[in-house]
């Protein structure tokens, strides 16, 4: 009996010993699904992949595949919303009730910082990765900086006082808030550094990555938003007197800027490369993720797409004010808008349909794919020409005018007008002469007619001060009654997501909200 107890005890001790000895291995289970972060960021290829993942952010709905067009195009006086989804529409007419409205605010804010997180990972990790060719390393860093600057540029336009996150995030981060000036300064810094390493041109396989021209375009825009005209001119000089001279030209057909044919053409300064390769893919970071633009589905007329956003009709009238040198309608109108008389004016149908909508309604036609389809979906492959040479020409004209060189500004406007077969500006509008203010006023409309629906209008209105006084806003409201809701000093910027203000004690809500 005693013997037996001893045996049992011994056996049990032995058993426990076996278990204890195996516990270390037993509880170590490697994740069989993917690399861990510590196994990554070792090679040049890792750095390149990390950078590519930052480009993937262009396909996220918070920003360039969907909602940012609501902020930049619909909120401006070019567009509006008649969406039955009232809250979605309210966010295009300055009726911001719930600051945590995902589609109107939070998604865009989150995806902006998601992109920044990816850029920061590249920039922080690349320093420890050995490169055979240091130039390649610098180019990867420069691209990451360009992308980070691009996202902060739009964050500055939208919310202004955002925190600058410049290192790889940690879960418990609580960054300080930055002023608009500080955000602009960081954008300038990143772009200036990116310009050092980026090539003027990429080889065919890399076309679509930012060139030095793309950097200079954004740098000029950044300076111009701050009215730093001299610095802006210096940046833009790249295209006219610098290394970029002669590299860009307007494509003969205006329409070529808005279809999936003839992408990355001579007019293209920077394009977001969209593709319909993964039709059916989702927005998430999953296999088979979608890489198309959803804008087309959201902006297509009722019955074709969601029609959550459409164009204001006043632009049709503006286009019709001036005829071409051979007495026809401005050909840009045909490619820019859908409106009731488009069949009568140009013989075009609307996605193969007759006009069946309101008499004073209009929709954006740029980027819409009616040129080869009768329906839309979430996977439009048409590249978004974020900066094209026509924009550069008009920006240059604006800068020269601001610097008092109005006379030399004409030629750049005229290049743009010439493609539209319009007469020279000085011929059509001799009253302007060298009057800086008058020139600027006309230039505003020249930009509108050329760039309508291309997501530059909101920045333009801000830069021109058209939203800074009640008198100015009243003028805008004549074109777009949504601006009757606009409160000067408040709606110039979006509210920060309320949850972010609540959860980050370093953050103050934007003034007025």
């Amino acid at each position: 009996m005693k013997n037996m107890l001893t045996k049992i005890t011994c056996s049990f001790i032995a058993l426990s010993a076996v278990l204890i000895s195996c516990k270390k291995d037993t509880l170590n289970i490697d994740n069989p699904n993917t690399l861990t972060a510590t196994q990554f960021w070792k090679t040049e290829a890792d750095a390149q992949s990390g950078l590519n993942a930052a480009y993937t952010m262009f396909y996220k709905p918070g920003i360039w595949s969907r909602w940012i067009y609501f902020r930049l195009d619909l909120t401006s006086d070019e567009g509006w919303s008649q969406s039955p989804w009232i809250e979605l529409g309210d966010w295009t007419r300055f009726q911001y009730v719930n600051y945590d409205f995902w589609e109107g605010n939070v998604n865009t804010f989150r995806d902006t910082y998601k992109a920044v997180f990816r850029c920061n990972q590249v920039l922080d990790n690349i320093e420890n990765i050995p490169f055979a060719d240091n130039n390649k390393k610098e180019q990867i860093k420069a691209q990451a900086k360009f992308l980070r600057a691009l996202h902060y540029y739009y964050a500055a336009l939208l919310w202004e006082n955002v925190p600058l996150v410049l290192v790889t995030s940690k879960a418990d981060d609580m960054p300080q808030q930055n002023t608009l000036q500080e955000v602009w300064a960081q954008v300038e810094k990143d772009l200036t550094e990116a310009a050092q390493a980026l090539p003027a041109k990429w080889d065919d396989a890399s076309v679509g990555r930012p060139t030095k021209g793309a950097v200079m375009g954004f740098l000029a825009r950044t300076y111009m938003q701050q009215h730093k005209w001299t610095e802006a001119k210096n940046a833009l000089d790249y295209f006219f007197t610098g290394d970029g001279r002669g590299m860009y030209s307007l494509v003969p057909s205006f329409k070529d800027n808005f279809t999936h044919y003839n992408e990355n053409n001579s007019e293209s300064v920077f394009e977001i490369q969209f593709s319909d390769a993964n039709i059916g893919g989702g927005d998430g970071d999953d296999p088979n993720q979608g890489m198309g633009n959803n804008r087309e589905q959201f902006f297509a007329p009722r019955g074709i797409g969601w029609s959550d956003g459409q164009a204001r009709h006043w632009m049709v009238d503006e286009f019709k004010k001036e005829k071409t040198i051979d007495g026809k309608l401005d050909p840009r109108l045909q490619s820019t808008l859908f409106y009731k008389e488009i069949t009568q004016d140009f013989g075009d149908k609307i996605y193969g349909r007759d006009w069946q909508w309101g008499d004073d309604e209009a929709w954006f036609r740029k980027y819409q794919r009616d040129y080869y389809r009768t329906t839309e979906d979430y996977y439009a492959q048409v590249n978004n020409r974020l900066i094209r040479y026509a924009d550069i020409l008009l920006l240059y004209a604006e800068v020269l005018n601001e610097l008092g060189q109005t006379a030399s500004a004409y030629q750049y406007v005229d290049q743009v007008r010439a493609r539209a077969t319009l007469n020279k500006l000085e011929v059509t509008h001799p009253e302007i002469g060298n009057d800086k203010a008058k020139f600027k006023e006309r230039l505003k409309m020249e930009r509108e007619l050329e760039l309508c629906g291309e997501s530059v209008r909101w920045a333009d209105l801000k830069r021109w001060g058209d939203l800074d006084s009640q008198a100015a806003v009243d003028k805008v409201a004549q074109r777009d009654p949504d601006f009757k809701n606009f409160v000067v000093g408040k709606h110039i910027r979006l509210p920060l997501p309320q949850q972010e203000v609540n959860n980050n004690t370093n953050l103050k809500q934007n003034p007025g909200y």
């Binding site: 996150v165 879960a171 993720q289």
Partner: protein, 1017 residues
Amino acid sequence: MKVIKHFLKAMLYAFPSQAMRKATLLPLILISSFGSVFSQTTTKVSGTVADSSGSVLSNVTVTEKGSSTRAETAVNGAFTISISNPNAVLVFSLLGYAPKEVSVAGQTMINVSLQQVSNSLQDVVVVGYGTQKKSSLTGAVSVVRPEEIQKRQATTVGEALQGLATGVNVRGGGQPGSEASIQIRGLKNMSNANPLYVIDGMITTANRDFNPDDIESLQILKDASAAAIYGSRAANGVIIITTKKGKSGPMRIDFSGKASVQQTPKYSLTATPAFVKLNDTAYSNAGIPQSNWQKHNLNNNTDWQDAAFQTGNMQDYNLSFSGGGNSGSYLVSANYFDNKGTVISTGFKRIGLRVNTQGTKGIFSIGENVAITNAQSDEMSGNPYVDVVRMLPTISIYNPNNPGGYGYGNEDSARTFGTNPVAHADLEDQKNENFRVRGNVWSELKFLPYLKYRLNLGYETSNDHYNYFRKKGSWTLNQPDDPSIANENRARFQSSLIENTLNFNKTFGKHSVAAVVGQTYQHDYYEQIWGNKRNMLYNPTTNTYYKVLDQGNTPTTGGYINEAVLLSYLGRVEYSYDDKYLLNGVIRRDGTSRLGAANRWGNFPSVSAAWRISREKFFNVSWIDDLKLRASYGTLGSSNIGYWDYIPVINTNSTMVVGTDQHLEAGATQVKLVNSDLRWEQLVQQNYGFDAVFLQNRLSVTAEYFIAETKDVLTPMPILLTTGNDGGNPYVNAVTLRNKGFEFSATYRENRTPVKYFGTVNVTTLRNKVSDLGYNRSRLFDGNTVTAIGNPIGMWYLLQTDGLFQNQAEIDAYKNKDGKVIQPDAKPGDIRFLDNNGDGQITNDDKAIVGSPWPKWEMGLNLGVSYKNFDLTMNWFGSFGAKVYNGYHSVVDRFDDNSNYRSDVSPWSPTNTNTSFPRIVYATTLNSRGDTERWLEDGSFFRMKYISLGYTIPARALKTIGFSSAQISLSAQNLITFTKYQGLDPEFVNTNIFQKGFDNFAFPNLKTYTVSLQFGF
């Protein structure tokens, strides 16, 4: 023996780790080396023990009075005891029976009959790795009688538990195949509040694959001392289920059949004429010219509820064969369960087979419990409970002009993005099928009457199959033109459990000691592959699609693996002196693969004590039969997180488009942030209670007070958007949460009169309070709630309303102290909001905490009466004092966006001013905004969950047809509800704990009427 050895060997192949095989081999050696029965040379007395009806009783303890010699009866009731004194007195005792003393007086063969005692204190309670007498319990344990569960028509055990135990809150069910959510003693953490299920020793979940009819006993371990033996997984409580076993005797056949019809509650919505009137008013109030109003299609008058809902039905059949002999017992049972849902195109079907057997030879016993189940569900597409509200009566169900042929919104005549539920059910179909085998094999070796070794090998596997098919066609306005899609995944889940335990149980005079030590190992493994195809082949002749993945194009596939291990050591000592002073100590040490190496191991101790005052000599109160005071203190844990949440990983799914050829290049980056230093969440709980029995066992009362503090709660606490994190918030040990509660339960039972009756009332009150939120935060906002330190979780944080403006003068007069008109845009009939910060405008800063989603108290009431062969039972459940958000009203009453409307609204108008319902206006969110008090309601309710009338057919009548028992009953569930709540069902579930009180079109409880028949022969 050899057979067993082979069998055990075979089992070992089920376990992956080499080390684990070694671990399990040792007990095998143990079994082999103690294979022979040891003997003594004294007088042997043997015999059989049976109950009053003649059924043999096993596990009856036979002791020689005044000595330590003891024996136990076997499965066939037989015992043999070797005694030194041929004139000794033998004491026969068994829990639940009155002990009996018999003088041996030289006999060598003694047959004894024991009398059952109907005192619940004598019940045996399974407490995990052992059993205890209810009277000896020192912790908080609820026992639910299986008949109570089986009487109800329920898919899962959880659903049937409501109101049957104090402190156990159950919500859910209704939808075919849906699983109920259970909260034991309030919210312990932020993730998964469901308790741990232990079925026949297998640690698992009692999901819809488990047949409630298989339950023989069910106990709920509620406090730390009771649950500590399950350590790290017990923080949410433990539900221990033992399945039915065969009983000694000839084969018994039992059948039960239940058939039910089910009805969903419905909304009271407008039909076309009333709808048109309200809709036109809303447009008119918005100043929209009449030419732009909806051009209603007055020919349509669709009742979308009739279209989407149907009368459901359930059938549940159980057939079992059971019996046993001298050395073993068996039970074979089969189950067929079928539920046609109350929502079109939904259903659930289960076919199950169970085989439980056990056998004994000498000191060795072995047994197995295995259940094989196939469960199929046809899942609901979208949420028809929203759809029927958002669809307008002016839309027809079918419309041949639309792609797919179904009616939906139209810009001119019916402007809504509502989903046609009939179209959605047809065009998008989801099916789930799970084939599961779950069971365990155990063997016991009783070296000595007081020492028992047990090896338990549990194994569970399921083959899961998910099918999704999307036909071409639309169910809502302006829907993108999607192709047909087939998506299918197949997965396998496996969980293996190895447990070695040693039980010691001995009485030394008045001292009694029971102890258990053990080790357990559980390995979980899941793998899935999926495939997706588009543009599936269509057969125009039959109007059907070919759904196999061979068809279609643009294939995509994927797959992943999850794996985890939990390794534990456990020990428990119970000591009692004269059944008067009871002490209990438990410790469990757990190691998990889900946490980083430095934080993997956690210790979870607990102690508890009880004092049965009624056994003291000085206690001399004739009307108190038993009185026990209890106290416990203990720590439980939780690592209820993902498999590798502590390791940051690289997402390699990113792609970019680049190049003149627009080719794709791969990207990879970290998308989701993690906190690498995750550690065990710990629940420290104190429990104080008493159990008392009065009036000759007629009245029993239990009351408990507990304080539970959960520290380092593992929670995916929202982190800042500026981190750029995606893929879900990372887990963090952040919150500290305190629950204090009081539970009271009283039962009065009268069995001695011709009319027998009983009544049980149980009452629970609970308060939770957050004392830390992590990330240095003092408040956390989620939806319309705020969780602030010092307050309960998820308090309503909304704009306060103050009636309606009756005229322009009131609007103009509504100013702040600086004279600023607060709501200058308001019109008469609009809601007046409180400008709490006095800044003269209504903003987020004016929001205030306006109510708690937590009920102040909850109550269960069980009543029963029987007379001769009839019995009537009912069960009521009530929850009182919660403020809930009526999601239904927040949609149907908004008017800014078109939906159907309630048929009984009385909106403000210049001629109808005596109303609290504001002016209705299309396209402005002024009155309809979601973040206001307008949508809060009192969520109190008192509901008859169950009522049943049964008739037991008299034995005499049955004999003639060869039956031994038969019962027929009629019952109903959710028949009567008292509530002021105006939503569909006050008893709703919202799985987001921060928005617990938000009734977001939850699937309601159904009215169910059941006929059931049970018989045995």
